[in-house]
Amino acid sequence: MNLKKHTPTLVAAAVATVLLAGFGVTSISIAGMEKGGPAPLAPLGLPPIPPDNLQTPAKIELGKLLFFDPRVGGDASTGCSTCHEPDQGWAWAEDFSRGYPGTVHWRNSQTIINSAYFPRQFWAGSASSNEKQAKSAAKGGVAGNGEDDLMEARLALIPEYRKRFKEVFGTEWPHIFDVWHAISAFERSMVQRDTPMDKYLQGDKRALSEEAVRGKSLFEGKAGCIQCHNGALTSDTDFHNIGIPPNVRWEEDGLAQITFRFEQYAKGQTEEGYRTAKSDWGFYYRGKNKWDRGKFRTAPIRYVKYTAPYMHNGVFYTLEEVVDFYDRGGFDEDGRTTDFPENKSPLIKPLGLTDEEKSDLIAFLEAYSGEEILMEKPELPEYAPLFTKAQLEAAQEAK
């Protein structure tokens, strides 16, 4: 695999231009259902940039360092990139993400590629921006498990960070709040807009294979995928119960059982819910409505070539398994489905796909992934003492 050097600064410059040109351009990319049918598939525009966190090359570069720096976390072992590994699709290639040391996560690690487009982040939409997402990722007990004061203290003792924060944010000392800003700016540069499908939609008819073109028709027609996977993002950004069965690992792994119960607790389950839950209730945890049990955000089809395993709990390791699951109408090969069949979307039903249709569909899904985005881990700046011995001696004298 050739290491493609990603150049975030270029994207940043492009974004800045668009900002000057006008904000409206960006909004089409996240349009949901339109009147009269799902939003048509479209090439991906630029991600929306919040006016209080504009992109600059220096900010993106700082965000990149912070994203790769495990000192942004509890015991300085687990940073963002620890669970969002560039060569694992900027995610983690196991069903459940690895956790903070001593724990395992309870959900699949999502890729950060294109996360910038999502108005609600995480599988169940619990964060409303990249900024808020980064904060809760760095602090969550089974994720970064960091605390603001210690993370901020660490950055203050790294001269290179002091310099960069001052340059980018104008502060004398790094502020934790700005850490989330910088990381978000970096994430907003991590988008992929040149997939074969984007090229195809822009008029390059040779960008898709014949198979993929047939797959596209299935996606938009017989297979009905477009009802949820639509628009430029290939996601309506809404929440659905498609019948994903609970991960059997919860029945077999003591560490996973610990996290499972912790999450019920942490997400504000009722006592009875805590005692009886045996699967991830998903979007339910947001509004505590029983009709939301087992709903998750429509995952984008983009970049999936690199992000196996799939679904919120990583139950499927290949796209073949995913397509078979949909073909059976939302059941896995053992006939298992969601714990909440009453909430299952009526849009999910047996499809009667032939083997050829299945492989066409998969060819199409893969056309939504461009080249693998790889990035060398940056060299991280080092700590240095803030005071000299002479300064300390003078302070001692002055006591």
Partner: protein, 368 residues
């Protein structure tokens, strides 16, 4: 960005001020007497013991209470500055836990004046100490059948973070001095002479009095700063995080441990520390809040010189003009305040902890 906890500061300051007002002897200071053993519930203390030595009650399962409070070192740590949670260092000497259950104010700066339950929570949850999300701790305990049984036997029912914070203090109550020559009446002649100096010429009783040999009040004795707090960024980051969280003004430029100032935010309290107990010193070197004094003879030398340099130093600390023999006698007395080591199986958990959490069988059928 620290959360400024102003409420409680004044209350805490008042509590410390009360100190030990009872049992004042003729000289004006409560006499040094024996320490009673505390009544404990055996099942609860046994549970507390297992928890105390268990690394799984820290965030990354990497550090236990006993890693900083080591039995062989009088439940303190032999390094001048305590270790910290993995990923950072610390800025103070680890405090001995022997007799800590007899106190009513905790930490070198006296910032906790309620009870050992709060003290235990502080140790568990502070990011630079154990960084434990107690909800995870609780679920870990529920996943270990040994704990499930022990919590039940202790009368706590199901494991919970609340009962962890009760069981550990119950264990700490078992860590009371035993058989110190001072208590058994078997002091050497040198130690007896040292005691007279301690109460008289040495002036030590002014602050080190009562059965714990401390007035539990804060004083400035001018102990020099330990520069390693600031020169080693691992320690300094813990110091910055601490002072930031406590709301100490200008914490980034601070070049000294504020001590009791942290409790009152009054300038005059800068550099004061709560008088430590002088029991079990034999095991707990090095000494002082920052481990700056390596041995007892050096501590005595420090006091003989009238303490350290600080414009706010207590008037009660002044040059003593002790002779060589007097210094030795004073040290002999300090040593006579140390009893048997609390290192036997009654105090130390020695069974292995399971390497993995066993799975709960029939998971889908049983209640969580």
């Amino acid at each position: 960005m620290g959360v400024l906890v102003t409420t409680g500061r004044t209350i805490l300051a008042a509590t410390i001020g009360l100190g030990m007002a009872l049992g004042v002897q003729a000289s004006g200071y409560p006499d040094i007497g024996p320490l009673p053993q505390l009544k404990t519930n055996a099942a609860k203390a046994e549970l507390g013991k297992r928890l105390f030595f268990d690394r799984r009650i820290s965030g990354d399962a990497g550090i236990s209470c006993a890693d900083c409070h080591m039995p062989d070192n009088g439940y303190a740590h032999p390094d001048a500055l305590s270790p910290g949670y993995p990923g950072n260092g610390h800025f103070r000497n680890s405090a001995s836990l022997i007799n800590t259950a007899h106190k009513n104010v905790w930490n070198w700066d006296g910032r906790i004046g309620t009870n050992l339950n709060d003290m235990t929570r502080e140790m568990l949850t502070e990011d630079y100490i154990m960084n434990m999300d107690m909800r995870i701790m609780q679920e870990r305990a529920k996943q270990d059948p040994v704990y499930v049984q022990m919590f039940k036997d202790a009368g706590y029912g199901e494991p919970s973070n609340g009962s962890v914070r009760k069981a550990i203090p119950e264990y700490l109550k078992t860590l009371t001095s035993r058989n110190a020559p001072f208590d058994t009446g078997k002091m050497s002649d040198s130690a007896k002479r040292g005691m007279a100096l301690f109460k008289g010429k040495g002036g030590c009783m002014q602050c080190h009095n009562g059965s714990l040999v401390t007035d539990l009040k804060a004083h400035n004795t001018g102990v020099p700063e330990n520069f390693d707090v600031f020169l080693d960024p691992m320690n300094h980051q813990a110091f910055v995080a601490f002072t930031m969280f406590q709301g100490i003004p200008d914490y980034m430029n601070l070049k000294r441990d504020p001590g009791y100032y942290n409790v009152t935010l009054e300038e005059q309290d800068m550099g004061k520390f709560v008088t430590p107990s002088l029991r079990e010193l034999k095991y707990t070197a090095p000494y002082m809040h920052n481990g700056m004094i390596a041995s007892l003879p050096e501590v005595v030398e420090f006091y003989n010189n009238g303490g350290g340099k600080d414009s706010r130093k207590s008037d009660m600390v002044k040059p003593l003009n002790l002779s060589g023999q007097e210094k030795k006698d004073l040290v002999a007395f300090l040593e006579a305040l140390s009893g048997d080591p609390l290192t036997g199986s009654g105090f130390v958990w020695s069974e292995e902890y399971p390497a993995e959490y066993p799975v709960i069988e029939n998971w889908r059928q049983v209640r969580n």
